[in-house]
């Protein structure tokens, strides 16, 4: 990795960090933090789905595991929020490795892999909804105790910067992956698994590394969500909404690119927020917009926003 590789990331972080100086309304900061959390979850999906070509429909399994782990460790075992956050991320990564081992070892690819991940996430959702340790259907609250030592802050801006820091870290990790042997082998597996095997790529090991990393990043988004909203239930933590958001953002923004998930996440949520202010709050409207965007992106060849821009430039 060279300085040139990191420059766009540094620029992005610097510009985005200025936002709370201009935007002070809580609703807008709320929106910005939520969008960053989605971007982070999407960056996790992008490692496995974008670079590895393994389309997961169940990243909620990782998001929810980390979210619940960090909440439960604090509330039931009195752990401090920061180590709880780290354990949550590690737990998500471990769940990723286990799901990956079970599905990749049996050679599941394509839509079969997507369905299995969806099934895992749904099983977790049902279990979390029924189990006592997760608070069942009533959900779990993290006790309000606003002190930085508890990973709770007075100002939303502090949370914004922390979320931005994590998103930036994920961008750096993604760039480093792109420049590494693991990244090259992962892309090779995506493009043609047999050809990769013939060149000495241990496809199983590569896919397992990718899903563990992917789950850790999406897990970080889940733990951050728990810490920001201080409340979880099964439909939030393990709901299909987060699986869908995590895969839509990179697909629309450019799967297998460093900035794709962030671009897609900002555009998706920007658009849905914009229409909300325009036509008022109609339930499900954001899903309609996501659907229309997805159709447009899949229907027209460049398939993602950077591609559209390239095409538009070429036409002029």
């Amino acid at each position: 990795m060279t300085a040139k590789d990191l420059l766009p990331i540094a620029l992005f972080a610097a510009v985005a960090a200025l936002l709370p100086l201009f935007v002070t309304q809580n609703t807008w900061l709320n929106f910005a933090v939520f969008t960053l959390i989605i971007c982070l979850a999407a960056q996790g999906w992008n490692i496995l789905g974008g670079y590895g070509g393994q389309y997961s429909f169940g990243h909620a399994a990782f998001f929810g595991t980390a979210a619940y782990a960090t909440a439960i460790l604090q509330m039931r075992y009195g752990m401090n929020a920061y180590p709880a956050f780290a354990v949550g991320v590690a737990a998500a990564s471990a769940v990723g490795a286990v799901i990956g081992f079970l599905s990749f070892r049996s050679g599941l690819r394509g839509s079969y892999f997507a369905l299995v991940t969806l099934a895992f996430a749904e099983v977790f959702r049902v279990l979390a909804n029924a189990s006592e340790v997760t608070g069942g259907a009533a959900g779990i609250l993290i006790k309000l105790d606003v002190r930085p030592a508890n990973f709770q802050f007075d100002s939303r801006a502090s949370f914004y910067w922390i979320a931005l820091g994590l998103v930036t870290a994920a961008l750096v990790v993604t760039r480093a992956l792109e420049r590494s042997r693991l990244g090259a082998q992962l892309v090779a597996v995506r493009e043609n698994e047999n050809a990769a095997l013939a060149l000495g790529v241990d496809a199983l090991r590569v896919k397992l590394s990718a899903i563990a990393l992917s789950a850790a990043i999406t897990g970080a988004a889940g733990a951050l969500y728990a810490q920001y909203f201080l409340y979880l239930d099964a439909n939030i933590a393990y709901g299909t909404w987060i699986s869908v958001e995590a895969l839509l953002a990179p697909i629309i923004g450019g799967a297998g690119t460093v900035f794709g998930p962030v671009l897609g996440g900002v555009v998706l949520h920007g658009l849905s927020e914009f229409t909300k202010t325009l036509v008022g709050r109609i339930p499900g409207l954001d899903l309609v917009i996501f659907g229309v965007l997805l159709i447009l992106v899949v229907r027209f060849p460049p398939r993602e926003i950077p591609g559209l821009i390239r095409m538009w430039r070429a036409r002029r």
Binding site: R181, A184, V187, A188, E191, A198, A203
Partner: protein, 251 residues
């Protein structure tokens, strides 16, 4: 037949059955270190299956494959690549979304952890196979001949001791064949043993020191190319029963 030579690659009574079809039957042969050895035979003889067994993509139903004295039967392909056996595919398998440089670098990463080293090896290999001018093109944009060279380069970049070439000349026009024959010879002269499936007889006669002939899953002949093409069993396998005697009476 050549006696099995434990020093390099030897295949002992390998059979492969797909349901009711015996694709390879009791095939035994060896490949000598430093040689260019050919595997020829009519369509459907089982050549590609035999290659798949040697390169670890298929497990034989029975029989053994020995590599430098060590049994490698059924060892998975990525481990064989680490052990120094690389292969190309008859139907080229480029990483379509990647540039030629990146395609070759995937092979080079096997023995070079650092990206800069892998890319440097990729450039050297590209020069050996005549791809230097195409390094930054997407692999999908190349001609058939170009893609065959990429296939060759990817395998070479793993720095193998034995290179298995599955019809690397198929689909090329005569001038393209003439271009690539010296490349294959240079690979061998660079110290890599070559074992190739080939239909282009001109190239086989030109390149190979030894040839094994596979027909209906069995090894029916082996020797130098000149010996093999005179062998009545080989002529019959290609041209039908009784062809050898008919040809002899015409001569």
């Amino acid at each position: 037949m050549i006696e099995p030579d434990p020093a390099f690659l030897s295949v002992h009574s390998v059979s492969k059955r797909f349901g009711g079809l015996l694709a390879v039957s009791e095939a035994s042969f060896t490949v000598k270190e430093g040689s260019i050895t050919g595997l020829i035979g009519p369509n459907g003889a089982g050549k590609t299956t035999l290659f798949a067994i040697v390169s670890g993509f298929e497990k034989p139903t029975s029989g053994r494959v020995l590599w430098r004295g060590e049994e490698i039967t059924g060892r998975p392909p990525h481990r064989l690549a680490q052990d120094g056996i690389a292969r190309t595919f008859q139907i080229v398998q480029p990483f379509a979304g990647l540039s030629v440089r990146e395609n070759i670098a995937v092979g080079a990463f096997l023995r070079h952890r650092r990206r800069a080293d892998a890319l440097a090896v990729a450039e050297q290999v590209a020069e050996r196979v005549g791809l230097s001018a195409e390094l930054d093109k997407p692999a999908a944009a190349l001609t058939v001949a170009g893609r065959k060279r990429v296939e060759l380069a990817k395998a070479l970049a793993t720095q193998p001791k034995l290179l298995l070439l599955d019809e690397v000349l198929a689909g090329l026009n005569p001038s393209e064949v003439r271009d690539i024959v010296p490349v294959v010879r240079a690979i061998r002269d660079g110290g890599i043993t070559v074992f190739m499936i080939e239909h282009v007889m001109q190239a086989v006669m030109n390149l190979c020191e030894a040839v094994h002939v596979l027909a209906q899953g069995r090894i029916i002949a082996g020797g130098t190319p000149a010996e093999v093409v005179r062998d009545p069993a080989v002529i019959e396998a290609y041209l039908g029963h009784g062809a050898a005697t008919r040809l002899a009476s015409h001569a």
